[in-house]
Symmetry: C2
Subunit: 391 residues, 2 copies
């Protein structure tokens, strides 16, 4: 009989979303007229920018012509998009277009990069974080070699390099769910650690568009030496409203692991992927310059303003809230003696606000609630008023 991959059984995470759904359902049964402000979701809320839509439409229509038809594109993405990314996002850090690999999501790339490595490596993953890094390693039978790096109040949610050796380190900065980003000094420490240990940093940087602090680099490649040790995952999802359009990219510099990793990823991608839809790549290109850049920057600014308002509203009521400066998430300390789930319930029934209990992102998320700023200013106003009920 065909034998199954038994490592899937080790996926023991508490699946919070079905529980949240159930709690929301019960709430709505009890209070059918109550309007819930959804600050739980990590998905964009504003409509797609018009200039992106126009670019997608034009590219699609182009494909209906004999000269404009496009079949299989390059698995690593069209050069026009890779060049636009380098010009806009990596203008002066030495990254070249052939070090950019377009994909349908950071999710896909961050969950498959482990394939390039031996399962004998020692892996470290920040906790709490986006669950995919850990789950992908568990599913591939690598769970037993993973060590969690706690992101706690003590380290301001950004762990420093450990004293012992790791080969692969998954970092997420600006951090989801904590909303806190690593500053230059800490990134320098991580790059120095990786250079010394001959390790590879796998950095999810999907929220770089939200960075506002002057001491937080928008990319790890601003740190000298990072191009020898770091792979960076970036996305159009949160910077340009692409969660429903699927376009992201991985930056894998040729110098990483003395040039050995680059041809493997290239091989992996050309074998397992046929790239991203041509019109979607044209849409992503449109987000990077001209009117598209203006439109998407305005969307990011809206979410940033939402985050600032929510943070101010909570702080003024005496709550302790982290994040929200360099990321669209707030990491709200749950009152002493209350669990994440208890505070989630309290927030829902008292304020009609939906949040996410921090433990859904890992054990070290207990004691916190994640609030997302991916909503409209109007909903923030409603939330501000609703928070009075907590007093």
């Amino acid at each position: 009989m065909a034998k199954l991959n038994t490592h899937y059984r080790q996926l023991k995470r508490e699946y919070i979303f079905p529980i949240i759904e159930e709690k929301l359902f019960s709430f709505k049964e009890k209070f059918p007229l109550a309007a819930v402000v959804n600050l739980g979701i990590g998905d964009v809320a504003l409509p797609l920018a018009s200039s992106i839509a126009t670019a997608i439409e034009n590219a699609t229509r182009e494909m209906t012509t004999v000269t404009g038809m496009r079949g299989y594109g390059p698995s690593e993405g069209y050069l026009f998009l890779r060049e636009a990314i380098v010009n806009q996002e990596y203008p002066s850090v030495g990254i070249t277009p052939d070090e950019i690999f377009i994909s349908d999501g950071t999710n896909s790339d961050a969950s498959s990069i482990h394939e390039l490595f031996s399962s004998a490596n020692r892996v470290a993953i920040v906790d709490p974080t986006y669950p995919v890094y850990l789950d992908a390693n568990i599913m591939a039978g690598r769970g037993g070699r993973v060590t969690l790096l706690p992101c706690t109040k003590e380290n301001q949610f950004c762990p420093t390099p450990p004293s012992d050796h790791f080969d692969l380190i998954y970092l997420c900065t600006p951090g989801n769910p904590t909303g806190v980003a690593m500053n230059r000094s800490l990134l320098e420490q991580w790059v120095a650690y990786a250079l010394k240990e001959k390790a590879v940093l796998l950095i999810d940087n999907a929220y770089s568009a939200y960075v506002t602090s002057s001491d937080v680099p928008k990319t790890v490649y601003a740190i000298p030496g990072a191009d020898e040790v770091a792979v960076e995952f970036r996305s159009f999802s949160k910077s340009a409203g692409f969660t429903g359009l699927r376009c992201a990219y991985t930056v894998l510099p040729k110098k990483v692991l003395k040039g050995k990793l680059y041809p493997m990823w290239k091989k992996r991608q050309s074998t397992k992927s046929n790239g991203v839809a041509y019109p979607i790549q044209r849409g992503a290109e449109a987000a990077l310059s001209g009117h598209g850049a203006t439109e998407t920057r305005a969307q990011v600014a809206t979410y940033q303003a939402n985050a600032r308002r929510l943070k101010a509203a909570l702080s003024s009521r005496g709550f302790t809230v982290h994040g929200g400066i360099d990321a669209p998430y707030l990491w709200w300390e749950v009152p002493e003696g209350t669990s994440s789930w208890e505070f989630f319930d309290h927030l829902l029934t008292t304020c009609h606000i939906l949040a996410i209990p921090g433990r859904g992102f890992g054990a070290h998320g207990e004691g916190f609630i994640r609030l997302s700023a991916f909503t409209t200013p109007e909903q923030v106003t409603t939330a501000e008023a609703a928070l009075c009920a907590l007093e």
Copy 2:
């Protein structure tokens, strides 16, 4: 130091495409005025159907509105598309929409399905075939447990079930590169084998739209019992001109391996994928009914007519050509004493026709040339005339 996945070194396939590129380049240097008829490429040639473009455009514009914006979609694809697929492609074989998983390509799915299985399984893969099944297994360290099932003239390029046990069997029917499809009787044998051995059939059926023989089922699920043993990969690439748009699907019935496989694939997909762009799924939906279905059927008919004409032109000149009836590929027997590469060269320099040497698809492809019908009728006319030079 981070240790690499050494299995990549076992990818020893001859990479024919760079060699073809080089040969084409030399040819064009020598004969700068010669027009080459490209019958090598497995990519669609006709422009995108207008009604598909309209559906994509409309869906994109819809996303610019407050009510029409779509963020993350379901990782398994939108229900509207899964329902349309069942209605159009599986109307009476018992497949339900929740057994359809939308993805960005058969490539992605066929190269990752092995992840659900233990590496202790014995794997069989047809040869010659689309290289990805084997390469994905090699890259995952499973190459040592793979046995090739030769597709030869003796078995009409469709192997019968072996006498010994295998757990996973990769089949490709209608076959790429052979252009030959398994008939009902043979599929029945394979289903019976899999039921007896408790094995799983992994069937690449990307060319089902090209089936014309009455004894060739368009899906394996036309065979009773197949829904207990078979996973089928289907695509819009070749049926609706989607190679540049990226939309495909995997059919994974709940009954396979007594229900154990289904939740694993669902888990795998929801962890590693955020689905396919909403406008692209609307485009795929448009290809399945109304004017879109008429347009795409006409495209398929054009390629089918191309295949018939090329086959007739070769047969009338005394060549032996297989396939082309249920698939857009011809499998041309190279004259006795000539290698695939020699005949490739001969065809290019004598007829200015670009083909693919069969050995590029596996060892058992030696002695054959693949001709693709994915071209325009005008190019076929040019090719017909050019073939005279072979006499």
